[in-house]
């Protein structure tokens, strides 16, 4: 791999636990290379997060000079992982081993809080 691609500029990447779990996720209609043997229907996971005052203060300072708000990026990433893991938990309870057609949605329900929502179709593959 080219060193400049993996270099310092990509410093802020959280390795997700999601890909390590037994449940396979894709956002297309199938799991390539596998056959779907059973459908379990819709599974979903959601979480609502509020930012905390520390990141907010830092962000308002950052608002002057512009640039990435790392605190927010991290917060949203963690929340999305939480929503995904809830969805995965639901799929696991159904006895599925993959989720296809995964979609993500974001909405702001209250001032300073965001809802992250993940949904997909739980299936069993072979």
């Amino acid at each position: 791999m080219n060193p400049s691609f993996t270099g310092p500029a990509v410093a802020f990447v959280i390795i997700k636990k999601v890909n390590d779990s037994a449940i396979l996720l894709t956002n297309i209609d199938s799991v390539p290379g596998k056959t779907i043997v059973e459908h379990f229907g819709l599974v979903q996971g959601a979480t609502i997060r509020a930012k905390h005052i520390g990141t907010d203060t830092l962000a308002s300072l950052k608002n002057i000079i512009g640039g990435e708000l790392k605190g927010y990026t991290k917060l949203l990433q963690e929340s999305r992982e939480e929503a995904t893991s809830r969805m995965i938990e639901q799929a696991r309870q159904l006895g599925a081993n993959a989720i296809i057609n995964v979609r993500f949605a974001t909405s702001s329900v209250a001032k300073g809080a965001a809802e992250l929502f993940a949904y997909g179709t739980a299936v069993r593959i072979e």
Partner: protein
């Protein structure tokens, strides 16, 4: 008087710091985009031959980027006369490209990313006094690893 001085100071800091950050960010984006050209990212769902596929998994990348003080004031002025908001265009462009690069970074080792979707949200915006000042871009797709490279 003090208010005006503070405003001008913020404006100056915003202009220079913002321009420097943007320049640096674009430079790094271009560099990394060039380095990641070997990994095609497509929006279609077209798949390679089924028997060639070794593995497939979901990859995601996200980024929250804020606009600087100078550009925010520029946007307020622009709101009066209307027209193209160049100040915001670069903001969103940077956020999108960064998110896609992060997604690609997560897909290291695979050969193609299919069905890439990019979502933009301006959450937490109501908290700042001036309304929209930062955007969140979230990119996701399915990375496919082939048994042997085409």
């Amino acid at each position: 008087m003090l208010d005006l001085a503070l405003f001008l100071i913020l404006l100056t800091i915003g202009y220079f710091a913002g321009r420097a950050t943007e320049h640096r960010h674009y430079k790094s984006i271009l560099l990394r985009e060039k380095a990641s050209l070997h990994l095609p990212t497509v929006t279609s769902k077209m798949l390679p031959e089924v028997d060639q596929i070794a593995k497939s998994f979901l990859v995601t990348g996200s980024c929250v980027i804020s606009i600087d003080y100078f550009k925010r004031i520029l946007a307020v002025l622009r709101n009066i006369i209307g027209g193209r908001m160049t100040a915001y265009e670069t903001l969103i462009d940077r956020a999108r490209r960064e998110a896609i690069l992060r997604m690609k970074y997560e897909a290291l080792g695979s050969h193609i990313i299919v069905n890439t979707r990019v979502e933009t949200a301006s959450i937490f915006s109501s908290a700042s006094q001036n309304g929209i000042g930062s955007v969140e871009v979230f990119a996701y797709g399915t990375a496919i690893k082939l048994k042997k490279k085409l």
